[in-house]
Amino acid sequence: MLNQSNQKITCQQIRIISNERLAKDIYKMALASSLQALPGQFINIKIKDVYLRRPISISKIEKDYFEIIYKIVGKGTRILSTYQKDDYLDILLPLGNGFELVKNKQVLVIGGGIGIPPLLELIKQLSTNNKVTFLIGLNDIEEHIYQEYQPLVTTINKSVSFQGNVIDYLNNHHLEYDYAYACGPMPMLKALQNYLKVEGQISIEERMGCGFGACVGCTCQTKQHQYKRICVDGPVFRIGELDLDEY
């Protein structure tokens, strides 16, 4: 079992400080709440005109606000992008476990697509006690909104010097690391779970009903066939812990 936050889950009305477009279909929202949360935890947002809440990872935690970065993938996130500064959102938080922070390691952090934002707060917190290498995989350089974190970048199209996915990048570059963290689409996580020979943690994404363990709508299995709910036992798991082949 990884980190479990001791923070009580609450349902809060939280004021939007800003909701800005960063790239095509990608938005950053800052929310006015002094959140006690771990990197890798998520929030579940009630959005007008859709029924289920939408789970979104926390990408930055500051003293009196926090941020999420989200992509418009459907009706819920499209409506979320229309909220304005000073609107209020009904949010359940903080949810899930979080990343466990290592110390004195050469850490490789790998993000793919909209799996990158949950790694940003992690990188900030890891940097104090570790040497961190950050590698991100994007479809196109236009999605690159992470300059301040100075990542190595690979894209599926030809928009940067190296073309390919993150596995292709690792195969073609010699990176020194003895611990890894990853978040991204399931094919990437599956490939990394087979590729990586070091210990580490992955965070996975799934459609959820409730986000706090009640509906068992997001169950996965460990290699020992134990059932895990992604929303409460995850979303962070140890590399090699889950049987990802069933996805």
Partner: protein, 305 residues
């Protein structure tokens, strides 16, 4: 003001019961509020053997509701009695409703016999309406002969009250309710989910891995109300109303249609505090509509009442 309800000699302090499958085995909700405020709790559907359930995705969002195809994931009757119910008993003092699922008469018998010996269980809810499993009992809920045979068999050996949770996916709900009554059932739970589907425009395939699933949420309330009303007219069994309840007003509406108590389902997933808010607001809404005793409004919408 009286909110106490008697369901086959199980006394509920109020008619609010979290519905099976939306509240796990209860104890995890004790981090949100004191569970003892709840009238009772309907436990996650239990089968004789542990079940993993269906592949993901199991959940799809809909207008005014959601589709689930969890597929009766549960740790099996031995674990439920040995571990889950003892954990719940630490935080909940009232008797619970055990939801019994299966795919054969022997499955139902095995679980029902085990729950019948369990002091923490007040009522057995026989789930003949799970739409998410190939042989998930819905066959029993859609066939008069199978349903009658199952209830008669259970009644021969089970001492605790048997409430039958019926499926709305039938052409005549009254006929199924009368089958239950004639076979000796003690009460009804109306209604389980409606079969539904969503299709993802990007993949152009059903969102749910199982293709179909059970549609629940506020969209079901008028359907549940209609079915409860029809069954109440024809059948004298007590009814637990279920389908789209979100607030105390909905509880009153269900009771006017003929429900003696209600189950709150999907609302728990949107707001873990849903049941506690409904219970808190119930006296205010009763006062607003000059209701002193909830027992007096059961079936109140019917002619001659």
């Amino acid at each position: 003001m009286n909110t106490k309800i008697n369901l086959s000699n199980l006394i509920l302090n109020n008619p609010i019961i979290p519905a099976s499958g939306t509240f796990g085995f209860g104890y995890e909700f004790s981090k949100f509020y004191d569970l003892n405020i709840l009238g009772s709790i309907s436990l996650k559907g239990t089968t004789p053997e542990p079940r993993y359930g269906n592949p993901l995705p199991r959940i799809a969002d809909c207008s005014a509701g959601m589709i689930n195809a969890v597929g009766l994931q549960n740790p099996g009757i031995d674990m439920v009695i040995g571990e889950e119910i003892p954990k719940l008993k630490e935080v909940y003092q009232h008797q619970v409703i055990a939801n019994v699922a299966g795919s054969s008469i022997d499955d139902y018998l095995a679980c029902a016999l085990a729950f019948d010996k369990c002091d923490a269980v007040g009522i057995l809810e026989i789930n003949v309406s799970c739409p998410n499993v190939a042989h998930g009992g819905i066959a029993f809920g859609q066939s008069e002969e199978l349903l009658s045979a199952l209830i008669k068999k259970l009644k021969q050996v089970i001492k605790k009250p048997l409430y039958i949770k019926l499926s709305p996916n039938v052409s005549d709900i009254v006929k199924m309710a009368l089958v239950c009554e004639q076979a000796g059932a003690d009460g009804l739970v109306l209604i389980n989910t409606l079969l539904g589907m969503r299709i993802d425009l990007k993949s152009q395939k059903p969102i749910i891995h199982n293709k179909m699933g059970g549609y629940s949420g506020p969209a079901l309330k008028p359907i549940a109300l209609r079915m409860i009303y029809q069954v109440y007219e024809a059948c004298s069994l007590p009814i637990i109303g279920c389908g789209g309840i979100e607030n105390a007003e909905d509880v009153i509406e269900m009771m006017l249609a003929g429900a003696s108590a209600v189950q709150v389902g999907s609302a728990n997933l949107i707001d873990p505090y849903a049941c506690s808010k409904i219970i808190k607001n119930l006296p205010r809404v009763m006062k607003e509509y000059q209701i002193n005793d909830l027992n007096e409004i059961i079936g109140g919408a019917h002619d001659g009442k």
